[in-house]
């Protein structure tokens, strides 16, 4: 059709009628070549908690063509609130893909050479099984959904690769929580990827990381509309206020002080003087409110609880007897880690910690700290040097 990127939209069996309608309108109106892609995991998915997930499905998008040897696949893992729409329009917001500047024909992750797969993680809310999906009893899971880990998400992704007949990825790529998944795959399924690219990420959640997530979770759970997680019956009356606050707090951690000062400073929003009230006087307040409310349109509050929990539980060393180097002892992959100098969420020291462990196992590892003003979010923003590192690493 009109675009060379071949996106594929999913259809979610458990989704509400209006969403289905919105999707079909989208299919009709946009010129992307669509193919509904949902993978039904054939067996119960075992989880780190000891529980398992029955009848789970994974919604995913693909771009570019898989070669005959099935050797040119790149799996891109999304971040906390990301989704499978890495390079195609988001069905709810109508916004372009979250990494469209990185993924596409002639771009650093070149879909003319590579078959790119991006899947929604389990626990999320964009078509893969999560707390808003229907449990076997026909009602949404809500808080009955089992607590999952990053490794559980990756276990789900591995079943998807099995289903697609992809034995070994050319590369697994991820920023932030996506980077955690890439590291988890390298540690637990060392034969499944030839290259591991980890951007602005970490091998463990720090006390500060957990603290910020806890603020977000408490904001959601303090919203009376959360109702113990059982709010799905009354569409549009969920814990939007709590979820928006959670997003606002988290959003601050994605930016740098330098970036905030540059973008907003102490400038006032649409007024010349302070209101001596509690309206959004400052531009930064208005911006955060906008981010918070926009987020609630596309994200499920319970998913936010579950995924932040999974990130907080993440500690690859702990999974491997306390020594990070042991986690990568079996790996023959080439690694590349990238950090940003203004990222205080997952600072350079966290990437170096991983590099140190990889050096100890003689793994082939590259590491570069890039300069960028925007903090953690820098990995999503235009950055020529990042483009060259990503393209160079994948093609090298």
């Amino acid at each position: 059709m009109g675009r060379t990127v071949k996106g594929a939209k999913l259809c979610i069996s458990s989704v509400r009628a209006e969403l289905v309608e919105a999707l079909s309108n989208l299919f009709a109106s946009c010129a992307v070549s669509n193919q509904e892609q949902t993978y039904q995991i054939p067996d119960d998915l075992p989880l780190d908690s000891g529980q398992s997930l029955a009848d789970a499905q994974i919604a995913y998008e693909t771009y570019g063509t898989l070669n005959a040897a099935r050797s040119n696949a790149i799996l891109i893992c999304h971040a906390l609130t990301g989704d499978q729409y890495v390079a195609s329009e988001h069905p709810l917001t109508g916004k372009p893909g979250w990494w469209e500047r990185m993924v596409g024909p002639g771009k650093p992750i070149d879909t003319e050479h590579y078959h790119v797969i991006c899947a929604n993680v389990i626990g999320s809310c964009m078509g893969s099984t999560g707390p808003k999906s229907l449990a076997p009893d026909g009602k949404p899971y809500g808080m009955r959904f089992p607590v999952i880990t990053i490794r559980d998400m990756v276990r789900g992704l591995v079943t998807l690769l099995d289903g697609l007949g992809i034995e070994k990825l050319h590369a697994i790529v991820g920023g932030s929580m996506g980077g955690m998944q890439a590291l988890s795959l390298a540690a637990n399924w060392p034969d499944r990827a030839a290259r591991v690219l980890v951007i602005a990420s970490t091998a463990r959640h720090s006390a500060q990381n957990i603290a910020f997530h806890e603020v977000g979770r408490q904001a959601i759970m303090a919203d009376p509309a959360w109702a113990g997680g059982d709010y799905y019956a009354d569409a549009g009356n969920g814990p939007e206020a709590g979820l928006a606050v959670a997003r606002m707090a988290a959003h601050i951690t994605y930016l740098s002080e330098e970036g905030l000062t540059e973008k907003f400073g102490r400038r006032l929003q649409d007024r010349d003087t302070k209101s001596f009230g509690f309206d959004a006087d400052f531009q930064i307040e208005s911006y955060l409110r906008y981010q918070g409310s926009g987020f609630t349109q596309r994200f499920d509050a319970n998913s936010y609880l579950y995924i932040t929990r999974a990130m907080d539980y993440f500690d690859i060393a702990e999974e491997h007897g306390g020594k990070l180097a042991d986690a990568f002892a079996q790996s023959t992959a080439r690694f590349c880690l990238v950090s940003f100098d203004t990222d205080w969420l997952y600072p350079t020291a966290e990437s170096r910690h991983v590099v140190h462990a990889l050096n100890a196992t003689s793994a082939k590892v590259s590491f570069v700290e890039l300069s960028a003003a925007a903090g953690h979010d820098s990995f999503l923003l235009p950055h020529d040097q990042l483009d060259r590192v990503v393209g160079g690493f994948l093609n090298g």
Partner: protein, 201 residues
């Protein structure tokens, strides 16, 4: 190999036929030596480089290079993780060259170290007759802008190696980008390179 700087070309030549050996190039720049070692000799080469733009160049050549500081980050590598460590024209820029030498010989079985010889006759005469810090072909940057904070001579280096208990396996001297003989090297050589083993006194 023709494009390699004279000291790197010697290393590439000497290590030819060592397929599968492991080399760590400390201060690897744009990765020219590593690429040559990999492509011509099948050597498993890794690098450390402080400049992010040079690291990026290395990564896009398919090389494994970690952005880091030779003064501090060699500590991250296990003992004898490499067959050879390489430190070319970087030693005088380090805060403690003696400690770097320790690390090179801890991390590698052997070490190649090259540097500009401050006792070359041109340097000596610039000081002697000009009374100024030398600006020569080998040391082209003014005293206030140079990254070299610890100038060294052939004699100084040999003394340091001896103090460290390191054995000098081989030595090469260069003038005008060509190898020259050993006699009078501390006067005649603009650059020197040593292959060391042992150490850790």
């Amino acid at each position: 190999m023709a494009d390699l700087r004279f000291d790197l070309a010697v290393i590439a030549r000497e290590l030819n036929g060592n397929s599968g050996k492991r080399v760590l190039d400390v201060g690897c720049g744009d990765g020219a030596l590593m690429a040559a070692l990999r492509d011509q000799s099948g050597i498993d080469a890794r690098g450390i480089e402080i400049n992010s733009e040079l690291v990026e160049k290395c990564v896009s050549r398919g090389l494994s290079v970690v952005q880091g500081d030779a003064d501090t980050d060699l500590a991250d590598y296990p003992d004898k993780a490499f067959d050879y460590t390489v430190l070319c024209q970087t030693l005088p820029t380090s805060t403690r060259p003696d400690r770097i030498l320790d690390e090179l010989l801890r991390v590698g079985e052997r070490a190649f170290v090259s540097f500009a010889n401050f006792a070359h006759w041109r340097t000596r005469s610039a000081l002697m007759f000009g009374g100024k810090m030398p600006v020569t072909q080998a040391l082209p940057v003014s005293w206030y802008a140079t990254q070299n904070i610890h100038h060294v001579t052939v004699e100084d280096f040999c003394a340091l190696a001896k103090e460290k208990g390191a054995r000098i396996e081989r030595r090469w001297f260069f003038s005008g980008g060509r190898e020259i003989g050993t006699p009078g090297a501390n006067w005649r050589a603009e650059f020197a390179m040593f292959e060391l083993s042992g150490g850790l006194n």
